[in-house]
Symmetry: C2
Subunit: 141 residues, 2 copies
DNA sequence: CAACAACTATTGACGATAACAATTATTGCT
DNA sequence: AGCAATAATTGTTATCGTCAATAGTTGTTG
């Protein structure tokens, strides 16, 4: 009979849960959760995005995006602007406060990851990262 | 500004979600979900376990274990037996049907994992697996 | 040995998540 | 002009994770 952790997919599932929990406890005091953080990070790379792009690239349901952007607007970290060419769409952009928040939490986020990957040396972390990225390429952003 | 997937912890979180979804859709027709499957797999390795052991080793709340074992009993995949030395405890054991179910879903589960890890060659999958295991050692079962 | 603290399983409650269906406003097609 | 498709939104439902409270049992210790 196979062992409990014989399966890589199951391992990923369990570690993903743990990673998410760590991130959330770290973000807790900032008033945002992991999903908000993901949106902010995406906005930072994209210099503005339609909500449907956020949905597609982050893998969250469109209805989830609505609430997340609502929260980010309340916090002053992002804004909705009308899309010039399509009145159905709204463009979500990072505010200056949002940028500052990202800068402030950046190295704290790295600390969380360091904590999680404690058993691995730097070379191994690099290997892990590139392998995960290769898997993620296909389907996620 | 760092890219969206610059962070390994975040990557783990996203891939863990996807892995869990894949497993769940595959298990769906069997009437069990991922958490039930995890319990079954643990029971298979342990030849019976107290519920508090399931809780501690799988990381689920004791109150969650109750419902999961209830479901597994209804399906005929597991049974609760009195612990001989402590009348507070119950020992959960796999039934023959439970074992058969595990055998039947075993290679189907591997197919799911194969699907997920499609971008990697066998050697890379092996590397990924051992790296993830090293991380998991510390804290999970 | 009697009182009390600790433990096991259970129930119940609550907020957070995730997945879907349905709606409204707008656009593109033909 | 009519109709299918699309973007954002609302609402619903099921699951999840955590926490508090309870009943029954065990262990401790004063």
């Amino acid at each position: 009979m196979r062992g409990l952790h014989a399966d890589t997919g199951y391992l990923l599932y369990r570690l993903g849960l743990r990673s998410g929990q760590l991130f959330n406890t770290f973000l807790q005091e900032s008033g945002v959760r992991l999903r908000h953080y993901a949106v902010l990070r995406f906005l930072a790379t994209a210099e503005g995005a339609l909500q449907r792009e956020l949905s597609a690239r982050l893998g969250y349901d469109p209805s989830a995006i609505v609430g997340l952007v609502d929260d980010l607007e309340k916090l002053g970290f992002a804004e909705r602007r009308p899309a010039p060419d399509d009145r159905r769409s709204r463009i979500v952009v990072l505010t200056e406060d949002g940028r500052a928040f990202l800068r402030g939490t950046d190295e704290a986020g790295l600390r969380v990851t360091n904590d999680l990957l404690a058993p691995l040396d730097p070379a191994e972390r690099e290997t892990l990262h590139t392998l995960l990225r290769r898997i993620a390429e296909d389907g996620l952003t």
